[in-house]
Amino acid sequence: MTAAQGKHLAILAAIWAALIFAPYWMPLFGGYTALGSRVLVLGLGAMSVNFLLGFTGVLSFGHAAWFGLGAYACGLALKFVAPSTPLGLVAGTLVGGIAGAILGALLVRRRGIYFAMVTIAFGQVFYYIAFQWSSLTGGDDGLRGFARQPLDFKLFQIDLLHNDVYFYYFVLVCFAAVVAIMAFILRSPFGRTMIAIRENERRARFLGIPIELHIWIAFTLSCFFMGFAGALYALINNFADPRMLHYTLSGDFVIMAVMGGMRTFWGPLLGAVIFVVLQDYISSVTVNWMSFIGILIVLIVLFFPRGVLGLLRQRRAA
């Protein structure tokens, strides 16, 4: 094993240790377990956006659409189909992913700013549907009347609703599974074609890669991840509302990815930590918490364009 590989493993071990022991060390710094769950889920959303942005080079500014669809599908499944947490997750993942696959097919010929604009437009369509269709979605008040259910393993049950620590570990296991799938895809021959497209689309095309097909697959995968994250988010709050579909949330995910470092795998999670923790602390002091995030993002983009993790990585290489 080389020194670089050793370092890589040590960093991975540190990340997972921090996540696994979070319910124990976070209270020391004034955190609470539910905050940890929120960081994980929003971090998963940011990583899904970055799966497309950082590794395929395609900027979607409407990814909250698939996140929100996942949340609503999860809530509606729990409310109307059957009270089962896994069912809610599967429903959210499928609805977010399939909607993404269908609309993605209309998107893949657009590039750059045009792609971003059309994704915003699609996202806003879902926002207004959720807003207007009160009888199903609860409209502006949001979707209520569902709650995460205990995990039933026949021999024993795990109560996710009343025990925040159990629920945190449930979220962590879900997070780990999706992140493992992402990492696996990025290391595959297909994942390398994504990176080829990010690096140089023209070259990739003239190596015989059908660009549109590959972007569509990457987009669709990221929508499935996003739907899953949205379903988890609905379970955190036992609630889904139209703002989960709004483009400002899409923007938040992009901000998390850029702050953390979009060329890195773990960067968006770090971005989510910074974003969510700052939001939590500053919003208890002032309602203008967003302006502090704004200043921070300007500083990061100006001085560390590769994000916080990208900066750390550069330092190490130098």
Partner: protein
């Protein structure tokens, strides 16, 4: 059967005719140079053949099959590879990673979620072969963007070659190079032509390279066909001399 047969190829951009009624035939194993003054339509011609642009009229036959309406990436799949006038590579990846992407695509693994052990070993062996061919093995772990211009060019040519093409299109392979680098790239091209019997069409401005390498030369001028022949015939052709001198005057 000829590898490439172009029939009455025309490309219009609005009222501008960039390529006018060009026909040419390239036989298997031939090295054809396409030359002409600036604005002669050489690169447009390449872009039509490789599928980067769609032709207005005319046909392009690759190994007897009409490819003029199929997309670029499928032409690559049929056995046609190209390089660009301005080097097109993956600059933030290493030489090894650049070649690996092509090798996996060429092996038909581009949609695969994983490779088994035998497939991975086979890919590894083919990458090493390709690297050795252009003496890039010791630079395999360097980022391509950090390499000298000549090595970047060599990497690009090797990427095209890793596709195992039956027709290689090179757009000004020695553009912007010093004498030493020009010499090295021409040696690589010469080896591909003589040893690997590869059919090559190249656009080139450096006449030493053209006359050193080419079996036959096609001259374009202002979008149209001007002359075709062996290097000796072209050197003696008055119309060609006028086209070049006329532009210089």
């Amino acid at each position: 059967m000829s590898v490439l047969a172009v029939r009455n190829l025309t490309k219009r951009f609005g009222s501008l005719v960039a390529v006018r009624d060009i026909s040419l035939t390239v036989e298997a194993g031939e090295l054809r140079a396409v030359i002409g003054p600036n604005g002669a339509g050489k690169t447009t011609f390449f872009n039509l053949v490789s599928g980067f642009l769609a032709s207005s009229t005319g046909s392009i036959l690759f190994e007897g099959r009409d490819i003029s309406r199929i997309p670029a990436h499928q032409r690559v799949g049929l056995g046609m590879a190209r390089t660009f006038q301005i080097t097109e590579i993956f600059p933030e990846l290493t030489v090894f990673e650049n070649i690996r992407i092509v090798t996996e695509v060429a092996a038909g693994y581009r949609l695969r979620p994983w490779l088994n052990r035998a497939e991975a070993a086979d890919i590894r062996r083919r990458i090493d072969e390709t690297l050795a061919l252009a003496a890039l093995s010791d630079k395999a772990d360097r980022l391509v963007g950090e390499l000298a211009h000549g090595d970047q060019r060599a990497t690009e040519i090797m990427m095209a070659l890793a596709l195992k093409p039956r027709l290689l299109l090179l757009d000004e392979p020695t553009a912007g190079m010093g004498d030493q680098e020009t010499y090295e790239i021409s040696q690589i091209i010469r080896r591909l032509h003589k040893d690997n019997k590869l059919t090559i069409v190249l656009i080139e401005h450096d006449m030493r390279v053209v006359f050193h390498l080419a079996d036959r030369i096609t001259v374009l001028d202002q979008g149209g066909f001007l002359a075709e022949g062996t290097p000796r015939e072209i050197a003696a052709n008055e119309a060609v001399q006028t086209a070049y001198l006329g532009q210089a005057a």
